[in-house]
Amino acid sequence: MRLLTGPAGSGKTAVILHHFRESLRAGNQAIRLLVPTATLTTHLQNRLAREGFVFPGKLIQTLSDFVKSWVEGPRRVTDAVLYLIVETAARRVARSEFASVVHMPGFVASLARTINEFSSVGCDSNRLASCLPDTPLGPAFLAVYQEVDRELARRGLALRVGLLANAARRISRNGLGGIQTVWLDGFHALSDPELSFLATIGRHADLTLTFDAMDSRLAAIGFREERLPRARTTPARLLVKAPSIEREAEEIARRILEQAAAGRPFREMAIIVRSKETYVPIFRSTLARFGIPARFYFEPKLHEHSIIRFLSGTIDALLGGWDHSRTLAALRLAPQFASSEAMDRFDFAVRRQTPNSGLPTLRALSGDDSATLTPLFESLAALEAWLPLELKPGEWADRLKTLRTLLGESPVPIAAHEPAIEWRSRSAALNSFDEAMDEAAEAWDEHRQLSLTEFWRAAKSVLRLNPLRLEDKRRNVVHVLSAPEARQWVLPVVFVCGMVEKEFPQFHRQNPFFPEAARARLNQSGVRMPTAAEFEREERALFESAITRATLLVTLSYPEFNSRGDQNLPSMYLEDLVLPMQDSCPVRPHPRLKPGPPEPVEIRTPALLNVLRQRTAVMSPSALESFLQCPFQHFSKRILRLQPAPTRPEERLDFLTQGNIVHAVLAKWWLTREPLEPLFERHFQAALKEKCIPPGYHTERLRNAMLENLLAFASSDKWPRGRFQSRIEEPFTFALDDSLVISGKMDRLDIGSDGSAFVIDYKYSGPQRTKERLTNDNLLQAPLYLMAAEQKFLVKPSGMYYIGLKGGIVYAGWNDGPAAMPYDGEPFPQGWLENSGERTLRVVEQIRAGRIEVAPANTDNCRFCDSRDICRVDAHEAPEAETASEA
């Protein structure tokens, strides 16, 4: 057994390939080249095939596949199934130490990880029992491990180490079936079970292993070392500092584009990422943004895929009685409806009436779009037949695999490369879903009868644990690699990003079951559990490897600040290197659109001006006031009349609705004086029904406030009703001139026996806001109402009062009448009505002339304006004291 050692770049692979080629040329196919990963397998196979060799692909294989080909009997347990088995075992064993955490997914996952760790160093539960270190959770862990081992054996499943042992036994018994030469390349660490497997191979074939260095374990099983000197030249290196990770990713993109422009194919460049959570998403976005084709050697999580979310969401909705919000949330993920207008309409229809549940009521909401949505609803309805069933796990798996029909079958477009990958991921997700269902079935006893709920719980765990495996075989792409994956690669240009503290080297945390000390003792007993020191060595090796992957140029980089704006500490690995340093340059893609010419902020087109004229032939005082507050507000609210998305249930009892209820109650009560509470209750309940307002604490709070305010008004009002005849909710219109009609509705018109009258307007607002109406120059309601009283109702207007009803009753108004009133009023301003009439006409003239600019008279009111997001006014700062919020 030969051990070929040498530093990175010393050409170990080249030596192996040389021998491999020689054998092929000699027609000798009794050879195997074993490597750690599938990517490397394909890479080497392709390389030799392109050199003109024709050979069976299996001559180059991963060690795992090789082992598998010798295994007789047990199947390898997948991670997800192991998780489910561990979960059941932990519950069954019911150790008190684990009582408070046994239901937590992270706990089960970390148990499963630790079991895997033991298993991969060749320590099954029996062996652990014999050398269990004294550590508080040791016995409880062991109990679960033993249960897991028993369960695996019962089901004919094995962990990887079990397969190694099984294969080794078979090889010892029957030999290697004629294989004479075996090379292993690309390995950086081998566990004890792997080594003993190699020893077995070594007894039946000529074995060569490439490795970083000789060690005692290798020597012990009989490897002889042959050392190679370092051959490859060191590439140029430099360090780039960017202000943030966004700029760092953009800088790398910029440099890739520079290289590409200079003629370097994308496939000759790679980005090595150590911290995938931070960097993979941002590189996906950034490289796509700059149009750089890239292949990511990272598997996304299966359950995050929208298709899986759609299918899972549907089953969850089914099990949850078709809660409308949840069902809608799932249906909106159905890709065939991603841009369907029917679905958009249905979406809003559903949202207008949530909370609700049940499929028939939901279906009824599809209205005019039922033709489009019917097939979907029929499929959903068909699922209901599953609810009462009790089936075997395999049967559930088969059944759930039919869910893909929910996606419909409309033609798939021919897409560009990027979108094609999205389509590919869709089909991959569907296939992975099916596999996941089979895996979930595997975790149960195959004859057990289960309900959908039971099976689905396991299925969801599998979906959560499994990755989405997606093939991307494009040749000319930038490779985005993890640091371990990158170990197998050599390319001209390499970027190593994220060189900051705790990212590279990554921070190592102790295992909760077997901390450092326990590991040290295990090592003393011969169980080679990795320790912190090993972890550190491994990180260092990953870094050394990352910066030696390039033949021409390695660019290391780091962001100077994190997302909170705190300075990052550059990685300690950078301290040992003397690197030329460069700053990143801000970069972005050329805009695809040229900026348009500045647009006029008024309406000029004659046809549109005509529309304005038509729309302003009849105007209400509130529309006029809206214009006076802000021309744009008027434009957006009254002319464009934009419809927003439906409000959330808890927002439906908004100010407007509350005001309407209060107005309606008062209108009735003022005339009939019937008991206020039941009257209010009737109106309130009607409003809840009409607006689909759910009952609950919030509704109750507002109900209470409204009722209190009404009662306060009823009990404290000193208005001399007896002196007047009241007309309630009186609509009116009157012509101010030939072209303008004013229309409105008076809450109350109180006419005295002498023909003098008061206009009363209820405001469901606080005392302050009500009083402010007296001094606000931009209001026209009062004079216009008074004019209406005069012109339409032919009475002599003596005054007008606003009654503020919220949080304390307030009368604010004008009183020009001779009679003493219990409430003070301001005298009518000089020439009020005439001036207001003229002003109204001027205002309307402005509207008709197309004035729509954003010019709020009072920016405080912008807070209540529905157009505040549209108008882009800078009146949003409603700051607050710092102590309450400062962090």
Binding site: G394, E409, R475, S563, Q643, I870, A887
Partner: protein, 1084 residues
């Protein structure tokens, strides 16, 4: 580390020979405490202490980072220590707790894979849990809830409870403990009775009858209070109680007693009466908190999340309940270093007590700089520790030298804060040497007038300073304010004056324009029927539509979105085979947007949301900003958790519930004036500091429900006798406590603010009619200078220690036109580079199988769907499976049958082989070819190969080839269900496959195969394949076309009879059977 010269006090502080004693270092502002702390750590390590045996806790992440950085530098040359520093325990309290919990998750009862929910996420979870709790209790007992609502109705009720909850947790008090707080003492009935009795006992000498009547009336009123049967009655009696003291005889004991009764006892008794009146509501309040707590904890546990308070609470609980872990942890650290000790809260102090063994603690702090009371810091803890150290004869060191500010600034600080509450008198000794003298280092501007003259004065002074002192740059200047409400005044004055500025930690993230635009864009992508959102987007620079156009679009009728994408188009279901053609009446710019919208909508769930946004941003060159980056990061992150609709909803909820999200931190490098609150300036220093809007205080009103660790939970209730709210005893006590704390903290905040300045401190405020209040009041009264008349002069003042210092005093109105800076702005931002997308070539695959190539040749579209994209063909429908039909009942599929035949012919024995499979095996074995095999000299079955054709590596498997009689023969078995006639036609589909086999076999065998055969086993038909293809259908040509199709993504349909067998017809493929003529199949 560069050589630092330490003062004697500093040397004492870093003296490690006393390391076995608890130490307290009182470090004034600018006294170099970080340096001392780092040096102490460094010396310990240099002395041989393992860095992993030191625990250093800082207040902020930034400070921890800074410390780690300095330590890394210090041990740069010692790789062993340097490597250990990576794992050293230098972090914030939260960082420390998170690490402890991860490593002891099982004992701590937390999910080992927990993540820490950020403020935003926990706030959302809290709101949801709160409303669930409220709904739950309302369902169970609506009557009680109604009573509570009547008693305590505030729109902020829930958020107030949540902040009380937050305070509780900071103090380390559990919800269960809340009920145990006794009511703070108030005035009792007995006390009032006593007073009444005492008054009654008085001889009313000199009281006239009217006065006596007045007294009697008051006494009767008080007796009604005393005799009330219920708290409600008492409240009513209090309301009715009246006593006009001015109508009573003064200057006698009865008067004094009456006054005490009226002014002290009865008002205070009100708190007690309110408390008694609302006992049951208070219980409900506690019940609600308990439910909320339970629900919130449950939700976090489901999500595997811990919030910041959990980190502390769970660590404390772990250490309290688990003696072994506690002992282990205590043994783990030889030294515990703590920075900013005055800012720790109750829970953190508890934690520290659990972690620190005796005489291992080294705390640094300064009471005068304790400004985080609102975050529940308890500076008293530091005081107590300091006293303990002092009295216990341990190590107490005071660092009073200030290495930051000019002496005059320190004198000004001392003068202004001399008698301020909350400030411990401690002198500030100037220790920094300045190269140049500076005539005046402190200025005060008291400005009156309309339209923010103060802000314009500040702008003017900045420009004057920069003009007069060329070494100064904008970035040397900071503007500090206490209340962010005034910020806009300053930013607009700066904008007018052309002064670049950066606002640090504004809270307008959600209201910023970029976030507004992009949020609405996401809403439009989610559902364009939301016309408001669509209008926002259309008017924004993302599209740039004029209002006229908007109106035109709206006038087209129906929903605004219909003007973009005519209904029939958007209805074409996605995947939409035709590129969408937007409404032809649209301008090119809008049409472009409409087309993009269709595209984004189709991809809304398949790419992360930031990518959708980025493509919109890059379409129009939307300006970059830190908030934009922050929003994109949120969008990127959300895509892995949420669907677009869910994200849109989350944004809406966040915006509605917690709009005060901080702005992204500005990029620091710019040469700009920094604007920030005093709290965020803590720990920073600037050459020039403007401390402005001194007149502006903050809102200190207590919420309706509040918590204090001394009194528990208090509330303000509706006084049933009056439409007015009143504190209960708890709330009253909290109110008093809070008042005191605010006063003290206000002084300290002022102290911290002023001590940020190195060279120049400019104080400014706006003068109004009223007496100066807030800090302006403190400054004006402590300096005792005449601010009545306009002036601009330098006055000399005296500090408490007798040192004179100069103040430039400016009392002025409008600053007039602003000066123009005569020198250019240094270091402009680096220029933005625009790049174009690269030309993309070579996007074809590296590998293919023979089957794939064959599929491609027969129909490129089928290849695309099945192999390139990976779709399966047939899908059983959910209703096609009836219960009881398990997998056992399924029949053998064609593929499975084919497999069996191949296995049998390979020589395997299959016990369960299908009779059809066995029959077909027999057919081949008895055929002429089958018999030749038995005579062959070389036989290869299931021969696997890889062969490169035009750089494409093709893999395949030859069923059989053999050498016999000098000939090389290739055989491929087919189990297709065809007739003999059809077999000949079908054979054409397999020609390419056999030609590639021939290529491979030739390479291996060293010579070309003689013949190649397809054996259709079902009809037992043998078809010979011509191995000499024309140039057009040679494998090389096919591979070239294959490359080309993949590179250009061109996969046309090949509609013909074969479609009838294709699983994609009428489905994923646009071809329909209706369109297929009876024309014979052709092979391309």
């Amino acid at each position: 580390m560069k050589e630092v010269r330490f003062t004697a006090a500093q040397l004492e502080a870093i003296d490690i020979s006393q390391r076995h004693l608890d130490a307290c270092v009182v470090a004034g502002p600018g006294s170099g405490k970080t340096t001392v702390l780092v040096e102490y750590f460094r010396s310990l390590v240099a002395e041989g202490v393992d860095p992993l045996r030191i625990l250093a806790i800082t207040f902020t992440e930034k400070a921890a980072g800074n410390m780690r950085k300095k330590l890394a530098e210090a041990f740069h040359d010692d790789p062993r220590v340097r490597a250990r520093l990576e794992r050293a325990w230098v972090s914030t309290v939260h960082g420390f707790c998170a690490r402890i919990l991860k490593e002891n998750a099982v004992f701590a009862g937390v999910d080992p894979d927990f993540y820490v929910a950020d403020e935003r996420e926990s706030w959302r979870l809290q709101l949801d849990s709160m409303s669930e709790a409220m709904e739950e209790v309302f369902r169970e007992d609506p009557v009680r809830v109604r009573a509570l609502i009547r008693a305590l109705s505030s729109p902020d009720f829930e958020s107030d409870i949540l902040s009380a909850y937050d305070a509780m947790r900071g103090a380390g008090i559990s919800v269960a403990q809340l009920a145990q707080f006794p009511a703070p003492p108030g005035v009792t009935i007995a006390e009032i009775e006593q007073t009444l009795a005492a008054i009654r006992a008085e001889k009313l000498i000199g009281w006239n009858p009217a006065q006596k009547d007045q007294l009697e009336c008051a006494l009767e009123g008080a007796e009604r209070i005393v005799n009330a049967n219920t708290p409600r009655g008492a409240l009513q009696a209090i309301e009715e109680f009246s006593c006009n003291l001015s109508k009573c005889k003064r200057g006698n004991p009865a008067y004094t007693l009456l006054k005490h009764l009226k002014d002290e006892q009865i008002p205070k008794f009100l708190y007690a009466a309110i408390t008694a009146c609302y006992t049951s509501e208070r219980e409900l309040l506690l019940d609600i908190l308990q439910r909320f707590d339970r629900i919130y904890r449950h939700r976090k546990s489901l999500a595997g999340a811990l919030d910041f308070a959990d980190l502390e609470e769970f660590t404390v609980r772990l250490l309290e309940s688990h003696a072994e872990t506690r002992a282990r942890l205590q043994a783990q650290f030889d030294h515990i270093l703590m920075d900013e000790f005055q800012d720790t809260n109750g829970q953190q102090s508890k934690l520290l007590r659990l972690v620190r063994p005796p005489d291992r603690f080294y705390a640094v702090g300064d009471i005068n700089q304790s400004i985080f009371g609102f975050r529940h810091a308890e500076p008293r803890g530091f005081q107590e520790y300091r006293d303990e150290v002092h009295h216990g004869g341990k190590r107490l060191v005071e660092l009073i030298d200030n290495f930051r500010s000019r002496p005059e600034i320190l004198s000004a600080v001392e003068t202004i804060t001399a008698d301020a509450p909350g400030i411990e008198p401690r002198s500030l000794v100037a220790g920094r040497a300045f190269d140049q003298p500076r005539p005046v280092c402190v200025e005060l501007m008291a400005v009156s007038g309309e339209e923010s003259p103060e802000a314009r004065w500040v702008a003017r002074r900045i420009l004057e300073l920069l003009d007069a002192e060329p070494h100064l740059q904008f970035k040397d200047i900071a503007l500090l304010v206490r209340n962010t409400e005034v910020l806009t005044e300053f930013t607009s004055a700066f904008e007018q004056a052309g002064i670049p500025y950066l606002v640090n930690r504004g809270r307008g993230f959600h209201d910023s324009r970029e976030v507004n635009d992009l949020t609405h864009l996401l809403r439009v992508i989610a559902n364009p029927r939301d016309e408001v959102s669509l209008a926002v987007v259309l008017r924004s620079p993302l599209v740039g539509v004029s209002d006229e156009t908007l109106l035109e679009m709206k006038l087209q009728g129906g929903n605004l979105s219909a003007a973009l994408i005519p209904a029939e188009q958007s209805e074409a279901l996605s995947p939409n085979p035709q590129p969408p053609t937007p409404n032809p009446r649209l301008s090119p710019r809008i049409a472009f947007f409409a087309a993009r919208l269709v595209e984004w909508r189709a991809r809304r769930e398949s790419v992360s949301f930031d990518r959708l946004l980025l493509s919109a941003i890059d379409d129009c060159g939307y300006p970059e900003s830190p908030n934009l980056d922050k929003f994109l990061a949120q969008a990127r992150d959300a895509a892995s958790r949420l669907s677009l609709d869910e994200f849109v909803e989350e944004l809406e909820l966040v915006r509605a519930s917690n709009p005060r999200e901080p702005d992204a931190p500005p990029e620091d490098s710019a040469n700009a004036v920094k604007i920030m609150t005093v709290h965020s300036a803590k720990g920073l220093e600037f050459p020039v500091v403007f401390l402005s809007a001194l007149h502006k205080g903050i809102d200190t009103k207590l919420p309706v429900v509040a918590f204090s660790r001394h009194f528990g939970l208090g509330a303000r209730w509706r006084n049933p006798a009056r439409r007015e709210d009143k504190n209960d005893l708890f709330q009253h006590a909290i109110h008093e406590e809070r008042k005191l704390r605010e006063a003290e903290e206000s002084s300290r905040l002022l102290y911290v603010a002023m001590t940020r300045a190195e060279e120049l401190l400019v104080l400014s405020y706006s003068v109004s009619e009223r007496k100066p209040s807030n800090w302006a009041g403190v400054v004006a009264s402590s300096l005792q200078i005449d601010l009545a008349n306009p002036r601009d002069e330098v006055v000399t003042l005296t500090a408490p220690d007798g040192k004179p210092w100069k103040l430039r005093l400016l009392v002025a109105g409008d600053p007039g036109p602003l000066p123009v800076l005569s020198r250019p702005l240094p270091n402009p931002a680096p220029a933005l580079e625009f790049v174009s997308s690269p030309a993309i070539t070579g996007q074809s695959d590296t590998n293919a199988t023979v089957t794939q190539l064959r599929a491609f040749v027969n129909c490129p579209r089928e290849y695309y769907l099945r192999h390139y994209l990976g779709f399966e063909g047939r899908i059983p429908r959910p209703d096609s499976l009836v219960p009881g039909t398990g997998r056992e009942a399924r029949t053998l599929s064609a593929d499975e049958l084919g497999n069996q035949v191949h296995l049998l012919l390979e020589g395997n024995t299959l016990p369960d082989a299908h009779p059809d499979a066995l029959r077909m095996e027999g057919i081949f074995r008895q055929s002429a070819l089958g018999r030749r095999v038995t005579r062959a000299t070389r036989v290869e079955r299931e021969f696997e190969f890889l062969v490169a054709i035009e750089e494409l590596v093709v893999s395949g498997q030859v069923d059989l080839w053999f050498e016999e009689g000098g000939e090389i023969v290739i055989v491929d078995y087919k189990t297709d269900d065809v007739t003999a006639v059809e077999a000949h036609r079908r054979a054409r589909e397999y020609e390419l496959q056999l030609r590639i086999y021939a290529l491979a076999v030739e390479q291996v065998a060293g010579r070309a195969p003689t013949s190649a055969w397809l054996h259709f086993l079902r009809p037992n038909t043998l078809v010979r394949v011509d191995l000499t293809p024309t140039l057009l259908d040679s494998p090389e040509q096919v591979v070239r076309e294959f490359h080309e199709a993949q590179s250009s993504m061109n996969f046309p349909l090949n509609e013909n009879e074969r479609c009838r067998r294709c699983p994609f017809v009428n489905g994923l493929c646009p071809a329909t059977l209706a369109g297929i003529s009876k024309a014979p199949e052709k092979t391309i």
